[in-house]
Amino acid sequence: MAERTDPPDPSGFDIELLLKQARTYLAFGQQLQPLSERFHETLGQDGDWGEALRQHFDQLKAALARATDDPNGHPDLTRLWTVTLDTWRQAAASLGVSTALAPPAGANAEAWRAYQQLQGQYLDGLRQAARDALDLMEQRLSERAMAGAMVESLRELYNLWVECNEETYGRMLRSLDYAMLNGRLLNALVSCHVRGDAPT
């Protein structure tokens, strides 16, 4: 017998997941277009492509800083770096703890402040991992260039970007500091949760 839908119904695919990441990919493409432009210009003028690469990645790091400081400025671009935080916020929302600046009604204000502070630390960690990933990507592109290897497409650049982020994020994830922060963040979130609101 085919199991069509069990309660609660999880079968409906949230197309917004796809659309959000597609928009993010398009934003990534727009960010990378100037790099391609500068690279091909530099190549044509027999210039220093290494310097062009450095400059472009400095700009990307500045864009990252702007995007994470003001997530509403360019949400599609911001999502490139905040995918983990977004997932965390969805989990927090499932406990009735939203991203709003004010504590949920009935929540302990001190617990709420502690949670906000830890969430800030969490975002700092993610931001650092994202910066490290850009450094790593610059290094990988440089190494490829030295080896005479060519990146053939925007998608290949995106895949390299994902690979670099997974690597630097994974390093952070496996650190003792992260384990402690993860535990404290979850404990703080639960402390904000208003008893009697359990989603179960």
Binding site: L18, Q21, V83, E152, L154, G170, A179
Partner: protein
């Protein structure tokens, strides 16, 4: 080194957008996504648990039934996801008589269910039902992932009822250095969590799994989906997996409390210190033949966590089966379909 020119990048983006627009229409027209394809019949029910018997695919199935105990996390239809991705189908084709426990979805009324309830009462009653129905002193038991740990506990407490034990991607030593789930739960105040929330929301577990590889699992995966949107069948395969990933039942509070603290945080299973309803779980009591199946690239249950069973179970007929793949691939990849069910069946049929 940067091959594509700005014009080529523009064209690539335009092409991506066109595929997305066209593909979104495909997605909307797909209809419900079905999982769990093989015919089966409920043969025993207790609370939210349903024990299913899969209809045999040979005229005379093996007389010793095989009971599959899946994890409490996620849903057991992963074992029978679709026509060509079904470990259960492979086991049936090899002549086995296969039963599966579906734990259902715990709700607030289940928050006090303990591991003793799951192991001694639920698994115990299913084993009892099969022993009675098949008139056998002992049956074959296969535990999957966390279900393997629960099966080990049951088997250690009632070895006389289990003829052969198969463990699949089952953690035994929770403190191997590469166990990232243990790493993440180490500083979590489990008592606070359960005392406050009652049951553990499935969405929190989802976050934990996604957070292990967020750029791939919450980002790149959907960008890659655009590439296959013109192939309805492939998209359906993707959506079946997607359904399974997000189909995360809440975890009964007390059972989660004990599993998180005793297994993950304190690693009591491998030390022989787990106590279920006042009885110590000593894996040396697992003296029947054991087949331990693990995946070499398993990022959730590292091979070393599974292979620790060799050093602490009492079986003199202990075998291992390794699979080149990950924690999910071992259920659903084409290679797994060809390798795992025939190997498990051959091992069981020889005993």
């Amino acid at each position: 080194m940067i091959g594509p020119t700005p014009a080529q990048i523009t064209e690539e983006l335009r092409h991506f957008q066109a595929r997305l627009t066209e593909g979104a229409r495909t997605l909307r027209g797909l209809g419900p996504i079905e999982t769990g394809v093989l015919p089966r019949d409920p043969v025993y029910q207790e609370d939210k648990l349903v024990l299913y018997r899969y209809r045999p695919r040979v005229a005379e199935p093996h007389p010793v039934p095989l009971l599959i105990v899946y994890a409490l996390v996620n849903r057991p239809y992963m074992m029978d996801l679709q026509e060509d991705r079904s470990l259960i189908r492979g086991l049936l084709d090899a002549g086995l008589d296969v039963y599966l426990i579906d734990w259902g979805y715990p709700d607030a009324g289940d928050r006090h269910l303990s591991l003793a309830d799951y192991i001694l009462r639920y698994i115990g009653h299913c084993v009892h039902h099969l022993r009675e129905h098949h008139q056998r002193d002992s049956i074959n038991l296969a535990g999957v992932c966390q279900g393997g740990a629960l099966s080990l506990c049951f088997t250690a407490l009632h070895p006389e009822k289990i003829r052969n034990l198969v463990t699949m991607v089952t953690p035994v030593d929770f403190h191997t250095p590469d166990n990232v789930l243990t790493h993440l739960i180490r500083y979590v105040d489990v008592d606070l969590l359960v005392d406050t929330l009652g049951n553990l929301p499935g969405q929190l577990l989802n976050f934990t799994f996604l957070s292990l590889s967020p750029f791939r699992l919450a980002g790149q995966k959907y960008v890659d989906l655009v590439d296959i949107l013109d192939d309805a069948q492939t998209v359906k395969n993707f959506l079946r997996m997607e359904k399974w990933i997000f189909d995360s039942p809440d975890q009964a509070g007390e059972a989660f409390r004990q599993f998180a603290k005793d297994f993950f945080q304190q690693n009591k299973l491998v030390k022989g210190d787990v106590v279920i309803d006042g009885q110590r779980v000593d894996l040396h009591n697992v003296t029947m033949p054991v087949l331990n199946v693990y995946a070499n690239q398993d990022h959730l249950v590292p091979p070393a966590a599974s292979r620790a069973l060799a050093g602490c179970c009492g079986s003199r007929d202990y075998s291992e089966l390794s699979f080149e793949g990950g924690h999910i691939g071992i259920y659903v990849s084409g290679r797994a379909q060809r390798k795992i069910p025939p190997a498990i069946a051959a091992w069981l049929l020889a005993r």
